[in-house]
Structure formats: structure tokens, C-alpha cells
Symmetry: C2
């Protein structure tokens, strides 16, 4: 019996596990210090009343034979898929039908599993820096080639650098640079980790490129609720031609605070076919039916409640709460002389480390001197070196305290 | 862009989807008929009071900032892992530590995903008939070779036939027959679909074989709660040497009725290493950390409640309820002249189709004449041809009515 050799190619452990261990070790050595965590993108504010009520009501239904629900439909309950289609698509003029929507236990699972329905020799393109799950799950499937220690890059991966020069947003892959054409293009907008967001015009370029080269865009819209500017699209299906080239991933974690509730969905349009005419939607449906048993009923009722008028108001309240933090961090760090970006259409602030420190040096420095935890930019890819991510997901009090501490350094 | 070609090797759609579609079509054509479903292994009785209370309490915790929980630990909360280790292992004299236990959203996900941590050229052995997920997920990973239409078997899969001669229980693969040695041996005991169960002595033979041949046993213990006879082991870790060769999958669906709640766990002992000394536990932990974001907090509290004294009593009540159905089906069918087995240590009854009908012929016959839905044995593998599965998961009233209808045929 032999282990999957591709798993052994993975570098270190998952970024946030590494950070967790470092912080735990520091806390153990310094039990008196109060650490403020602005690292992982986990929410801190409680679920709102409408969601809580939906969870209680659905739980009560499970207590009686007449209303008890066993296995959910593999792809999700109609009540939720209809609510998603209407609110997230129809209202925005996007042509997405309920049966193109697949309800899951969260966008992380989907973003990790989606690569499975594509051929093993698919070439992937990712932003650099990037949310680690996209690359790690393709390493696990043997798609990334070998790791070049000097470049800190995988030999078969196409990187789209996000740098100060391009406003920390990925650009359509240049064919001259690598000679390779990507089969799968992972895009996250608003972007994690840089907090930038693609404009409608920029995203349309990706859609046009993908259609011209028969690539698929895996569009991670987890932070869509944080968009505040009118020229930023909320869905890739706002772009012309996206139905033939795009899969879109959604989370309820960042808008409604479901990180511990677990609910998400993925859109795979009927029009998305591979080079042999295979409908990718069928494959994703087959994966759901075979390796998953549906999201829990009570969670799906909670998801439905997000779309009620009260739910929408409450979600807007949560988003505003976190965006006040974003503003606090942006302005506070700017006052303290840091170079910062993001935080306008996303709950992430991307800052340049001071005094030429590496990202991990700054991580250790901030943990030790200010007892504040952030995420080293280099953990997201080589172009993240010299940068650092802070999240707006803390409480007001903690965020304020963290910024005061950083200002006092 | 190209689809995963192995997905295209899959035969038809997932068995229970096919049945669902057939039943829906029949119901549409016959809107006046009352169909009784004894097909899919889905429970019908509501969640018990202790579970409902735990769900409500955990939901209330999510409503307040002080008790709100975001991302769960990847591998599960300690409160649940400790309860599992104590109740399902320590109390049975099995040496399994909490950090060898991985909490998930259900045994179906785990049984589908577990193959991923093994090399692509691993040879699998399965019982025939078998729960379709084991084979289908290995087809999707390209491990099964080509399908031989005449044998109805995959060229690279080792089959362990379960026939009337061997009491419908799998036997250790014979090396003479195929010349192949399995890397992964899927065992489900008590068995789905045949309802048989391996004795401690029979299972020890598998463990000894696996250790001698460096195979891994993927032991699906989803129906463990239904064991009524003393010589049937509740865990594979009751066998000597299982820590070096076995992974065990558990479900909360069949004991506590969590089919719509979604909670399960998998045990991967530290001692399980591949031929190069790679600890398989590390790979499974890495998969959990990268492609999964933890089971929901409220579900994990419900799981913990299953192990409370009241929870245990209630679960025992549910199991007894369904086993009364099993007895009713077994005796009723026997009275009606059917040849039946199972139903003693499992909620499944395995019956021989009458008059030489094929399994699907009997499915259609039963649906049409008695408006009763069962599962064709051939849907589980070629040795299931001529057999049919009925589940004990209905209500007493429906089960009784179904048996009366079958008797009246």
C-alpha cells in the first residue's frame, strides 16, 4: 500500500495551521499577554436574529415525524436554490437557473473539490499571492509539477502576479511569458489576500480570454458582499459570455457569518462544456451525488433566511460593522506611516512591511511587540513577500486596540 | 479544457438517483397511488429530545458574541472527539486516541474521499454486492480499469462475492483467483446491502491478511448500532493488529437519525503507515485541513449529546424501533414464501427474487403491483442479481402496510 505521492509534494502544512501553532506556542510562553487575532478571515460577530430563528424553527421540524427531514436532495433544497437564483442572479440581471446552483457545506470544500472534475493534465493559472487552497488542492492531484525553490513557484503553474504596479489585481496571463495556455484560471474578486477587486471591464477581459482559449474561470466570489463601488461586478455572470467559461463559488461565511455554520454554493452553467462537448455541470452533479450527501436541512433553512428582507438588513449590518473596522485599520495604518491598500471592496487590508522586513519577520515582530496576529503575505505566494494581511473581521474594540498597539510600536 | 476522463467511465447515474427518478415518473403517471419507500437507507423517525435540546442550545450560543463559534478545528472539537474515544473505543477495550479521530460531515463524504490519500495505482478489493460509493469513487480516480460488460465487473478490481453459499459475507480475497493483491480492502459490516455481519473470527482473518500483505482495510461501521449478537465485533479495533492496517468509518445517521443533520467520523491510527513509512494519518489530516472546513459547531454538540446517558437511551430506542420493522419484514416475507436473510444485526433484509425474476424486474413488479419501493440487488454488483434489498427504516405503519401488500401479491 502506497500513499498518494502528490500529497508528499505539499510544502509545509496549511498556512493557517502553521500560524495557529506559532500563536499557540507564543501564548504558552507568554500566558499573561492578550493576543488580538487579525489573521485568519474568521468572523467574530454572532449570528443575527433572523438566522437564529430559522435554525430554531428547522430544529423543531426535525423533532416531529411529520416534519422530519432525512437525506437532503444532493444538490440542495429547491427553497434555497430558488432564493439564490432570484436574489443573487435574477435581481442582478444574470441568467442563472436554480438547477445550475449546487448547495454545499461551504466554499472551501467546493474550491478544493472543483479541480477533480477536470483532466489530470489541466494547466492551472493562479494569482500570486493567492488563497492557498487553489494551489494545494492541485498539488494533491499532481497538476503542479515540481517546486522551484529559488523562484518559489511550481513548474507547471501559470502565475498572475499582483503587485503595487498593477494595483494588486491579476492580469490576463500573457502567452509570451510562459508559452502555456491555462485550462483553469482561478480568480478571487474581491481578492483574498490583497483586498483589491476586478472592475467589470477587467473581468470582461478574463471572460473574453477564457472563451478565446477554451479555459474555465473558477471565480471565487466569497467576498462579494463587501463590494462598495459601482464598477465592481458582484457576479462573473454580469460579464457577456461568462456562461460558457465560468464556474462561480459563493460562501455564506463572510456575509452572514456562517464560518461555523457551514453553507455555500457553486454555479456550473449548462453552457459550460469541455473540448469534447462534455457538460461540466453533469460531472459536478455526479460528484455531489457520489461523494457528498447534501448540506444539512437546518443550515439550508438558515441560508434561505439570509435572503428574507430582515435577513438582508441584518447581513448588511454585519458587513457595515466589519467595513468600519476596515476603515479604522486603513486610516490608522496610513496615519502610522504604513503603505496600505484594499479595505474598500473587501474586508482585507494589504500592507507593505516596514524597514524591508520579510513577511514572516513582520509576523514575528507584530506578535512579539504588539501581540497582534496577522497573515504573512509570502504565505500566499512569492509576490506576497514584503506584504502582510490584516482582516477586518475582529470586534470594534479589538480592532481599535490592535491599531493603537501598532501605532505605538 | 478537458473533463476528467475517468468520470466518463462511470456507469449510468448513482443507483439511488436512478431509483428516485423511476419512482418520481411512476408517481407522476399514477398520482392516486400511495407509494411506500423501503429503498434508500434513510431514517424516518424524528430526532430525539436530547439531540433537539443540544441543537437548540448550541444555536443559542451562536447568537451571542461571547459564545459564538466561527471556524471549527479542522479535525473536530475536542469535546466530541473525547466523547467518541471514550464511548466507542475505550469502553470496548479498543486503543484509539482522540487525535486519531477525524470528525466530518458524514460517512458518505469520508468513504468517498478516503481513496484520495492512496496512490493512483492502488488495487482495490470490494464485496460483491457492495455499496456503490466505494467503487464509483475509485472509478472517478482512474483505479478500476475497464468495464467488462459480460462479467459486469471492472478489470482492475478484486471482487469478494457474497453469495448464499458463504452466508452473503465477503471472504478474504483468494490470491490464486486473480494473482493480484489488494492495496485497499473495503469492508462494510454489518453489511450494506446484504444485512450479514462478520464475526470477530472472520474479521480477524481479514486483519491478519491485511497485515501480511500490507493492505489497508477501509472498514465501514455505519451500521454498528444494529449489532445484536455477541460474536459480532462493534469495531475493527477489537481485532488484534488492526491499528497497523485499518481505517474505520462511522456515521451518526443510522443510530441517531442524522441523515439530514450530517455528522460522522473516521479513525486513522498513527500506526498505519505505507510501504515507505508515510503516516497515513498525516495525509488525512492534510486533506481535512485543505479541502474541508470542519463540521458545524451545532452538529458537533448534537453528536456529543448522542453519548450522554439520555442520548444513549434514546438512540437505543430508535434502533429497537427499526429492528422491530426488520423482524416484521423478515417474518412476513418468510411467511409469504420468500427466501430471506439479514435483519438480525443490520437494518437490511436481503431477499431472493421470486420466479427467476431479475432484480430490476422485481423492482418494477413491486413498484407497479404493490407500490412498494426497494433496491435491486444487481444495482450493488453482479452477485446481487436475483436479489433485492428492503430497509427497516420505515415507520411501523408503512412497514406493516408494505408487507401486507407484498403478501397479497
Amino acid at each position: 500500500m502506497k500513499a498518494n505521492p502528490h500529497y508528499l509534494d505539499l510544502r509545509g502544512s496549511y498556512l493557517f495551521s502553521t500560524i495557529g501553532k506559532k500563536v499557540a506556542a507564543y501564548q504558552k510562553e507568554n500566558p499573561d499577554k492578550t493576543i488580538i487575532r487579525l489573521g485568519i478571515g474568521d468572523v467574530t460577530q454572532p449570528l443575527t436574529p433572523t438566522i437564529i430563528e430559522a435554525l430554531h424553527m428547522a430544529t423543531d421540524e426535525m423533532a416531529h415525524a411529520e416534519t422530519f427531514r432525512g437525506y437532503a436532495p444532493d444538490l440542495g433544497y429547491d427553497f434555497l436554490r430558488n432564493a439564490i437564483a432570484e436574489n443573487d442572479y435574477m435581481k442582478r440581471g444574470c441568467d442563472i437557473a436554480p438547477d445550475e446552483i449546487f448547495v454545499s457545506d461551504g466554499a472551501k470544500s467546493d474550491s478544493g473539490n472543483i479541480q477533480e472534475i477536470f483532466a489530470e493534465d489541466s494547466v492551472i493559472a493562479v494569482a500570486d499571492p493567492v488563497y492557498p487552497v487553489y494551489v494545494d488542492t492541485n498539488i494533491m492531484s499532481g497538476r503542479c509539477g515540481s517546486f522551484d525553490e529559488s523562484k518559489e513557484q511550481w513548474s507547471k503553474v501559470i502565475y498572475m502576479p499582483c503587485t503595487a504596479e498593477n494595483g494588486f489585481s491579476p492580469q490576463v496571463p500573457s502567452e509570451d511569458a510562459s508559452g502555456k495556455t491555462p485550462d483553469l484560471i482561478y480568480l478571487c474578486s474581491p481578492n483574498n489576500p490583497t483586498g483589491s477587486a476586478l472592475t467589470r471591464e477587467q473581468l470582461q477581459k478574463f471572460v473574453d480570454y477564457a472563451n478565446a482559449h477554451h479555459s474555465v474561470i473558477i471565480y471565487d466570489a466569497a467576498y462579494e458582499a463587501y463590494i462598495s463601488e459601482p464598477d465592481i461586478p458582484h457576479s462573473i455572470y454580469e460579464c457577456k459570455g461568462a456562461r460558457t467559461c465560468a464556474i462561480e463559488l459563493h460562501s455564506f461565511s463572510k456575509n452572514a457569518g456562517f464560518t461555523g455554520v457551514r453553507l455555500g454554493y457553486t454555479v456550473v452553467p449548462y453552457d459550460l462544456v469541455d473540448e469534447n462537448g462534455v457538460q461540466m455541470r453533469t460531472l459536478w452533479a455526479r460528484r455531489h451525488g457520489t461523494k457528498f450527501n447534501g448540506a444539512p436541512y437546518i443550515q439550508q433553512r438558515a441560508g434561505e433566511a439570509v435572503y428574507s428582507p430582515e435577513g438582508q438588513k441584518e447581513v448588511q449590518g454585519l458587513v457595515s460593522y466589519y467595513m468600519e473596522n476596515a476603515k479604522m485599520i486603513l486610516e490608522g495604518l496610513r496615519d502610522a506611516g504604513f503603505t496600505v491598500s484594499g479595505g474598500i471592496n473587501a474586508p482585507y487590508i494589504w500592507l507593505k512591511t516596514p524597514d524591508g522586513m520579510t513577511s514572516w519577520e513582520f509576523f514575528d515582530y507584530l506578535l512579539d511587540k504588539a501581540n497582534v496576529v496577522g497573515t504573512p503575505g509570502s504565505g500566499f505566494g512569492p509576490s506576497g513577500e514584503g506584504y502582510f494581511r490584516l482582516t477586518a473581521f475582529g470586534s470594534h474594540a479589538n480592532t481599535k486596540a490592535a491599531i493603537e498597539r501598532i501605532k505605538g510600536l
